[in-house]
Subunit: 199 residues, 4 copies
Amino acid sequence: MARPKGKREDIIQSATHIFANKGFHLTNINEIAEQAGIGKGTVYEYFNSKSDLFLEVMTYNVDKYLLRIQEAILSKEGFQEKLLAYIDTHQAIIGENYHITGLFISTPAALSTVADNGKEVMSILCGARDKTVKLVEDILILGAEEGILHHLHLDYYSDLFFEMVNKTSLRVFQLELSESEMLQEKECLISFLLKGIGK
Amino acid sequence: MARPKGKREDIIQSATHIFANKGFHLTNINEIAEQAGIGKGTVYEYFNSKSDLFLEVMTYNVDKYLLRIQEAILSKEGFQEKLLAYIDTHQAIIGENYHITGLFISTPAALSTVADNGKEVMSILCGARDKTVKLVEDILILGAEEGILHHLHLDYYSDLFFEMVNKTSLRVFQLELSESEMLQEKECLISFLLKGIGK
Amino acid sequence: MARPKGKREDIIQSATHIFANKGFHLTNINEIAEQAGIGKGTVYEYFNSKSDLFLEVMTYNVDKYLLRIQEAILSKEGFQEKLLAYIDTHQAIIGENYHITGLFISTPAALSTVADNGKEVMSILCGARDKTVKLVEDILILGAEEGILHHLHLDYYSDLFFEMVNKTSLRVFQLELSESEMLQEKECLISFLLKGIGK
Amino acid sequence: MARPKGKREDIIQSATHIFANKGFHLTNINEIAEQAGIGKGTVYEYFNSKSDLFLEVMTYNVDKYLLRIQEAILSKEGFQEKLLAYIDTHQAIIGENYHITGLFISTPAALSTVADNGKEVMSILCGARDKTVKLVEDILILGAEEGILHHLHLDYYSDLFFEMVNKTSLRVFQLELSESEMLQEKECLISFLLKGIGK
DNA sequence: GATGAATGAGCCTTCATTCAT
DNA sequence: GATGAATGAAGGCTCATTCAT
């Protein structure tokens, strides 16, 4: 929709899609160039190597994710509001980018073997995950301060909750849930968080 | 008098480790053969292609996982017992195979790009996950029947809980938790399941 | 008010040094342009191709060599004087340009494989060598006319003597000879020419 | 003529000819493989890289040269005999391999820029030249011991004489000399060595 | 005239796969 | 059945050259 401003960004966006669809090794530079409407050599005017490009693709998208999540949370006040903002924004991002989530949602061990600079890629992704979990933890702490949550082990719970939100977001698309089912699951998620599923 | 059946498994085990360490594309057949102590051509006596071998590696390990989890759950009676058996066994398997978890713990989308027969690999892994989630759901249903849990949305909650158990198991190794911290997190996990973290 | 003629020579001089250091194929146009302080495209305003530039580099330097040798010989009278002028000038040029001699001192066969227009390059270098040998022959003829040398086979001997002078000049730098050793070798060279090394 | 014994030698011989004709950079591995009647990949079963192959080509040929020269000199007794053996053998080798001499007869500086491992190549060639000059010096020393030559500066003269023999050998082919002209030049060469060209 | 972004032909190298032994 | 030498398709990357500005 948005016209990318520079050729560099064109390349990153083509690369994002193709890497996401085919993985690092099955993607070839030629295809990225074609999709970006440029020549193969031009890719190398902007990036030193395929691995470098991959790294920048990851950084670019991860930064975009983090920025948007952060803004969403900051724009709201109060535990309830911030929590919803986080859940909704995460889900929205997954929805808008479902076709490329494969690149970013994975375990460290899996990621480290994707490319030959896997270690660097891994550190970028782990860093982003850690930052997001931290944001979640801040929300939970706020909840505790508001007297809604208890204070114990919030670092662990935020780590868990990150996974839960992510899984919930993915379910929408994996199971092709309807709008109302989606809302229901969100309520269930928050209910789980607050009260568990014990009787 | 070498057992030919043994050679096939040798190859699968070598392949498991190397695929896990380096990923599908950075692994080469030669290395797998060497590690299995056989010639490169011999691999092709047992497997049609590298992709095939990968598929069988996945199947082999996934089946082993499923079998062990199933046995652990079946060997116990009652919600509480079965739940603990599941958690402990999952964690034990992760512990024993932490160096190869990267191969198996990932999202469908990510997996589909690992090999050129990614779709098949994905379906194996998704199938295994679904089966495990089903086992978890059975446990939760049992809990509901025992009056410990409520009955609502247990399909969703088992999906979530699978992630939570998995994440908790990984934390032990990622954060190098001590035995006592590990136990504490397990308690927290069950507490979360039963009561949530609301005050 | 930059003199365009100057820019052309700038390029030739940059190119001379880089070609000499790295050879034709390992040299790239970009580097030549940078060293000359101009843009890459500008090189193509003055030369049709890399091969062309190489050819002109060879011509430029070979002409400079020939001119200087010729003048040195012409400025002197008599066999002895001219011979010394030739030896000294050749050695001086080698000394001043030792870092680029690799480009020019070579056998025809070797040269023909340097660039893709190797045949042309070869003919330039062979031409220059032939002219120089001719100058040497003229000196030897003069020596014969003065009764110092005999008349036989001077074309062959001048060809040989050219190699001897060249080798002697290179030894100074290859073996890092002192000033006095250098003088001694020059005496030996002339002694060899006049009397051989027989007893 | 001689059937090469192994595939490795086939490759070295194909490579020798093509490198000699086109130089290192204009030669491509494909062509070497084709000429050797094998697939491109097979070259890499025997050599690690194009540069490695080049190095081995140089070593192989240089060793062959040295061995033959050494044997020729050793098989004779006395200054006169050994000197002639050296000259004749050198000339014979040049004759049999005239089409590849471009690879080997060159100045150190020129050689160092041929390939990207030019320094190693250079050291091989310089080493071979030094060894040959040493053999020549031994002959001259023998000549001095026999009272035919004087003793002074034989290291320098052997260096010079190596060039003279080489140049004389090349002239035969460059100028397409007849058999009798060839013999005459050899006599002139020895005469020059013993008596110079002074009257 | 000067520039340098864009280009794509070309080449080294890897490695899954085959097949003669 | 077992082997590993041989293969060639495929792809990352370089760099001489062009051309719009």
